[in-house]
C-alpha cells in the first residue's frame, strides 16, 4: 500500500517538474525563435523550384536540424488526449518549435555564405526512438543562391 503511494507521489512529482521546466523551456525557446526570426527576416526562403534568372548565382546546399524531446507532462497529456482523440496541442507546439528552429539554423548557414535567397526548401520529420525516449528530429534544407561578385 505504501509502495503504491510512493509510486503515485513519484509520478505526480515528475508531472509537476515536467510541467514547470517544460513550460519555462518552451517560453524561452519561443522568445528566442521570435527574436531570431526578426533578425533573419531579410533572407527570403522560398519553396519554389525555379530560381530567378536576374543575375548570376552560385548555389550551395544549406541545411539545419534539431532534435527536440518532449517533457514528462506533455507526454502524459498526449496519452490522455489519445483516449478521446482530437488535437494533440502539446505536440503541435513542440513540432512548431522544432520546425522554426531548423529553418533558423538553415538561414544562419545561408547568411554565413552571403546568400540572397534560399530556394526549394524541404522539410523532413523523423521520430527518434531509443528505449523510452521520445524525441523528434526536424531537418530543413534548401539551395542557397549566392550572388557571384564577378558577374553582377
Amino acid at each position: 500500500m505504501t509502495s503504491l503511494l510512493v509510486q503515485a507521489l513519484g509520478v505526480v512529482a515528475l508531472l509537476v517538474l515536467g510541467y514547470l521546466f517544460g513550460r519555462v523551456a518552451e517560453r524561452r525557446h519561443f522568445k528566442r525563435i521570435v527574436k531570431r526570426e526578426a533578425e533573419t527576416q531579410h533572407l527570403p526562403v522560398v519553396a519554389s523550384r525555379y530560381p530567378p534568372k536576374d543575375r548570376a548565382y552560385k548555389q550551395q546546399l544549406v541545411s539545419g536540424n534539431v532534435v527536440i524531446a518532449s517533457d514528462y507532462f506533455k507526454t502524459f497529456l498526449a496519452s490522455l488526449i489519445n483516449i478521446f482523440g482530437g488535437r494533440v496541442t502539446p505536440f503541435e507546439s513542440l513540432l512548431d518549435r522544432a520546425r522554426r528552429e531548423s529553418v533558423l539554423r538553415m538561414k544562419q548557414q545561408a547568411i554565413g555564405v552571403n546568400a540572397a535567397y534560399v530556394f526549394n526548401i524541404k522539410f523532413e520529420t523523423t521520430r527518434i526512438a531509443s528505449g523510452r525516449l521520445g524525441a523528434m528530429e526536424v531537418l530543413a534544407y534548401g539551395t542557397a543562391m549566392i550572388p557571384s561578385q564577378d558577374l553582377s
Binding site: 517533457d71 527518434i128 528505449g131 539551395t143
Partner: protein, 106 residues
C-alpha cells in the same frame, strides 16, 4: 562539386546525365549520451548530442555520395534529397541521393 536540390540552374545546362548517386550512414549513440538524453526527456528541450550525431551522419552520407559522383566524372549533383529513418533503438539511417550530371556554363 556543386550540390543542390534544384533541378535546373539558371545560366547552366546539363550536358550529360550520369545517373543516380547515393550515400548512406547508420550511426548510434554511446550509452552515456542515451542516459543523459533520457533525463532530458523528463524536462523537455533540445537533445544537442543527437542533433550533432545526425548532422555528422548526414555529412558523412553526403561525402559518400560525392565520392561516388566524382568516380563517374560528374561536376554536380542535382535534385538532392535526404531521408532519415530510425531503424532500431538508438540507431538512425541517413540516406542521401541525387542525380549526377555534367554541367556547362551557357
Amino acid at each position: 562539386m556543386l550540390v543542390s536540390n534544384l533541378e535546373f540552374l539558371p545560366g547552366r545546362s546539363v550536358v550529360r546525365h550520369l545517373g543516380l548517386v547515393q550515400g548512406s550512414s547508420v550511426r548510434s549513440k554511446h550509452v552515456g549520451r542515451d542516459i543523459a538524453a533520457s533525463f532530458k526527456n523528463f524536462f523537455g528541450g533540445e537533445l544537442r548530442g543527437y542533433t550533432e550525431l545526425l548532422s555528422d551522419s548526414r555529412e558523412e552520407a553526403t561525402e559518400r555520395m560525392l565520392s561516388q559522383a566524382k568516380s563517374v566524372g560528374a561536376n554536380a549533383v542535382l535534385n538532392v534529397r535526404y531521408s532519415t529513418s530510425s531503424i532500431a533503438a538508438g540507431a538512425a539511417e541517413i540516406f542521401v541521393y541525387g542525380t549526377a550530371v555534367e554541367l556547362q556554363d551557357d
